[in-house]
Symmetry: C2
Subunit: 176 residues, 2 copies
């Protein structure tokens, strides 16, 4: 399914990914900045045989292997669709062309970059300053449905803990 | 010392900070996006009586408590000058005004946001995928003078290790 987008205009396209489909393999260059219309994706880094999840994205937010997208270097992240996911995607070349013909596109690009920075930085600071339990509570407030939609191994990794620790926290809070 | 800037034009100013001077206190809103002409600053988070260093900046690069700058929320970071430091600073209000009258400023803002994202994300990924020794070697290649200029307790924290582990790595590599 491909149709014209309503956000980026003719320069972008709508794509559908199946549940569990790989959107980007690690080692490949990220060619898209994507916006989730419906569905959910996770970022994964393979390290020492473990899958580490530095981030996930639900509806109405942008995702990309953004360092790869900006630097044109191979992605260190893998991105997979957790559910059937519809995204609006603007290809790298189209976005660069858009920057050249409109200050509005420069503004959109700036705001997207800023928002991705804020999200990444808030996670880093919460890993430093908050307990795992606090991070779990924050997550359930911000994304109440994340725990039903995303496999717990990814949620645990995102929170910086083991799945066992996550279960312990959930059981403790369920008893309160 | 204040004089007109050559990078941002009349909207910015040059400021000098003394060695060890606090540039931004935690809990205050960050009102500046700053570019180091000469000198060095570190970001610090106080947590459980410890000083954690998520980042530092040397010459020819931008710094800010950027989440606070963008969101107008109180800064979770403290920023201090490690040396006598000259910075070019654009105040928040001036930058917003600049965005309204020029696509070039939108472009500059976008590129700064992207660069800050790349730096922050590379550190996060190196904390996940590399050993402390690899991170130390990367740092000495990228910023050969950082270890002479920045207190080792901050370097160790930036690398995600204790000062004792940092000394051990340095001694091991010095013997090679």
């Amino acid at each position: 399914m491909q149709q014209k987008s309503k956000i980026f205009g003719e320069l972008s396209l709508i794509e559908k990914f199946k549940k569990k489909e790989t959107i980007l393999k690690e080692g490949k260059i990220e060619n898209y900045l994507s916006y989730i219309i419906q569905g959910c994706v996770v970022q994964i880094i393979n390290h020492d045989g473990n899958e580490i999840c530095p981030g996930f994205t639900l509806e109405n937010a942008f995702f990309s292997s953004y360092v790869s997208f900006l630097t044109r270097e191979p992605s260190q992240l893998r991105i997979i669709a957790i559910e059937e996911t519809f995204v609006e995607r603007i290809p790298y070349d189209n976005l660069q062309a858009a920057y050249n013909f409109s200050g509005d596109h420069q503004k959109n690009g700036r705001i997207i970059a800023e928002q991705l920075y804020i999200n990444a930085s808030r996670r880093t600071i919460s890993l430093i300053t908050k307990t795992a339990e606090q991070r779990y509570v924050d997550l359930t407030k911000k994304h109440p449905d994340a725990l039903q939609r995303i496999p717990l191994k990814y949620i645990a990794s995102y929170l910086g803990i083991t799945p066992v620790s996550l279960s312990r926290i959930r059981n403790k809070l369920a008893k309160k």
